[in-house]
Amino acid sequence: MKGILKLAYKLLVNDKAKFTALLVGITFAVFLMMFITSMFFGVLNHASANVVNIGASIWVMDPSVQAIISSIGMPDYVLDAVRSMQGVKYAVPLYSGGALVKLPDGAYQGVTVVGLDDTSLFGRPMLTEGKIENIYAENGFIVVADAEYEKLENPHVGSEFELNDHRGVIVGVAKVTVSGLFGLPTLYTTYDRAVQYIPNPRYTISYVLAEPKSPEDVQKIKQQVAALGYVALTKQEFINKNASFFVFQTGGGTNILIMTLISFIVGLSISGQTFYTFILENLERFGALKAIGTRSSELVGMILFQASFTALTGYGLGVGLCTLLILLAKLRLASYAAMITYPSLLLSFVMVLVIAGISSYVGVRRVLRIEPFEIFRG
């Protein structure tokens, strides 16, 4: 079979125009599918930015919370109750809310304020400028230097602003693992200062962050929290909940699905049609091979090899092109919301195999139907 496959390979790649057209079609389709799904996974990843950055093992919240952005305040006794639960090593409150900042030039800018537990500062970001203990200083805030940083006019340690008529001072600049999705700069401060500066409803604890004594305690903690009328999610479960919200509640998932399907159809149209044309143009050659004594199974093998080779080469080029573009974009925008994930690689791979399968199926049908007698008749 090795020689026959080499024959198939030469018949394919030596037809440079057709082979290039096939590769362009597959590469374009893979690129589109990869790019769209990478954007989607990037958006999902950014949507859970605070969950990732704060890094708590267990998040306790109101059962009605759909995503981290829509926290619902919980009474203080929830924190006390969680702290007293079996299997809990420690538990701290977290404030997460929005506010308007008045900048020195008089402009207003919306921000996300994260209030960390005053005692432990659990979930604090890594500072690139300033000292973490300065967060306790009067009006102290830490600003995250992400893609939205410049919206606060690139503040540095000592920069001042107003937040609900309260004076605020930048005491540190931080970097985080994942930037936020919603185009808002992020400020960290203490929990007490956050609830003091920002007008709030009756209950102020957005989330209770808990750490289990051992991984086996997670289930036990969940049951105890449920008995209290609240929900405890692991970090990954909360990330998944955020993802589900964006996939199913915002229409984002449907849009991505439609775009991916369109990419698939475009790829299938270009590649399928070009491959079919390639088969049609070589129909006489396949007929001649059949007349000379090639078995039908060998002809099928040749066509499948040609389709698979084109598909896999196109897949590699498509993935490479997508990676390159995302890298280039990230050079300009550090928090560019696109990431290549195993699921998107797998999805594109499956799609490209389906394209190769359908293209070769049509070709195989034509080749198997050709009668060598037609070659004789000319």
């Binding site: 007349a291 000379i292 004594g293 060598p372 004789f376």
Partner: protein
Amino acid sequence: MPNIAIQATGLSKWFGEGEAKTMAVRDVNLQASFGEMIYIVGPSGSGKTTLLSLLSGILRPNSGIVTVDGVDIWSLNADQLADFRLNKVGFVFQDYHLFPRLNTAENVAIPLILRKTDWEEAIREATKYLDIVGLKGRADLPPIKLSGGEQQRVAIARAMSGQPEILILDEPTASLDSDTGHAILKFVHENVLNSNRCIVVVTHDARIYEFATRILKMEDGRLTGTESGVAAMGKG
């Protein structure tokens, strides 16, 4: 009779059914021996190519038996029939059917490659056959760079490379000028025909009749007569 290469008995083939039924070959009986170069001649539409296809395992007859070297070829299944064609029959098609994306040596090597011969070995072997047909220096060229006569010789080299017992040539001079056509058939007669090989040629080119051992005349799907090549040439 051990030297019988091809034996056809009661061979018939028709296309279509009912009023559209067309008899292409009608109750043909023929016998060809190794060492013979048989011509099948007749006007267009007389059934020559159909008969050639029936004899070479390309087209299944509606009735009749074809034995090649003692084997009833139409009792074979599809894969066995493909193997039979690959191992026993060499084809020179009317339009050559060379592969434009392969070079000349690779074209000639196709039957060897299909027989699972190692690629490099097949190319080496193919070059020998190109040498035999006088085209060794053209091994790396694509067929499109060759003249009609050279392409015909490549097709013959390809048919020979599998060392078949039966060689089928369909209108071998149809696309060639008379001198080239004559030279090609002379070459086949002198270099390809031997006591272990039977060559069947379909043609209506009277200028090459001199190389025939026997000439079978066909009309309306029937064999209407047999003459020696030299006798036929004399009448032409």
